[in-house]
Symmetry: C2
């Protein structure tokens, strides 16, 4: 079987995971969507749905990271980059009728307590995203510990806002999350007088 069959299987599965999660996605639906023979899934993924799932998590995670970092790196500064990232996410949600959000989050929640192979795959993706954001925040002279805290909170804001926005079918949550993400990045920049502002350890109780 041609390797583009394998690619179609992975891409179809990624799309299905994003819309309906891991558990609700069946092999029959995957092969139908990929226009592939049923046996092809086991041909390419002898470990079946779990092995395919882990591959899809890795591929989707990398694809989404490339997409987001391309938006980020096109911006003139980190504050604009974060705002652009949330604006792009809101636009995608509206354009796809609130279907296409994070390709990993639904699966991550489903498998966190039930499948450790897939849980570990989602953790690897989130770690890679955090590292990519930390690199860019430290390049903007934010000190490493603060950069990690801001990176994690920014990803949490994006993921949480996806849940709220998809549930309510409005982008209000992404807009509110964007305000907070932008404010915390701005406050973390050198010379911002960050003591009174977003996310500093110095201001925690």
């Amino acid at each position: 079987m041609a390797s583009n069959t394998r690619e179609r299987i992975v891409n179809t599965t990624a799309e299905l995971f994003r819309r309906q999660g891991y558990v609700g996605t069946g092999l029959k639906q995957i092969v139908a969507g990929a226009d592939a023979p049923f046996g092809s899934v086991y041909h390419f993924f002898p470990g079946g749905k779990e092995q395919l799932g882990a591959e899809v998590i890795r591929v989707s995670g990398q694809f989404y990271e490339d997409l987001v970092t391309a938006v980020w790196d096109a911006a003139p500064d980190v504050v604009t980059a974060v705002a652009d990232m949330f604006a792009g996410a809101a636009e995608t949600l509206r354009e796809t009728d609130y279907a296409d959000a994070c390709p990993i989050a639904t699966v991550a929640l489903e498998v966190a307590s039930t499948n450790d192979v897939l849980r570990a795959a989602t953790a690897d993706v989130f770690s890679a995203w955090i590292d990519a954001a930390v690199d860019r925040l430290t390049d903007a002279s934010i000190e490493p510990a603060k950069a990690r805290e801001v990176a994690i909170a920014t990803i949490a804001l994006l993921e949480g806002a996806f849940i709220l926005s998809r549930a309510t079918r409005t982008t209000e949550a992404l807009e509110a999350a964007s305000q907070t993400a932008v404010a915390q990045v701005r406050a973390a920049l050198p010379g911002s007088g960050g003591r009174a502002a977003g996310g500093g350890r110095s201001i925690a109780r």
Copy 2:
């Protein structure tokens, strides 16, 4: 059948949704966990799994709201309240081996594009949570539009941090999210000089 059978069915289903979502939870598993006869689900919920699912979303949403607002209302001020909410969430995650987080989020992501009855039920829960937070923030003299923005971002931070924390099996994400949530609430309080700080519309690009 006694009404406590109904209650056991709802509570068992809530627990299963939290750990493995809606799609992965079967009626057989529910009746086994609830120690109830198979037919009892259809006796109490003629609409089957969907009707039971909508009821569980409503009941769990209210229960979780009561739990969180009890923590919030026991705190001396809103900044402490938000910090306590995240600290309580982190403690629960650790104590339950990263299983018990938001009872709604997994289902919300699974059904957002596939089941509009259940999607609407999750939207109602999130709206109620936002309203409860807005009430408390405006009681602390934060103006209504800002209070709504802060409330939504705080819930997004909590939900997003649950995803990251469950995937990575650490509470680092909840701690980072807490820093950001606390900072944005602090910055929104009157007299905080909020222009330089968390979440203000005035500082967005």
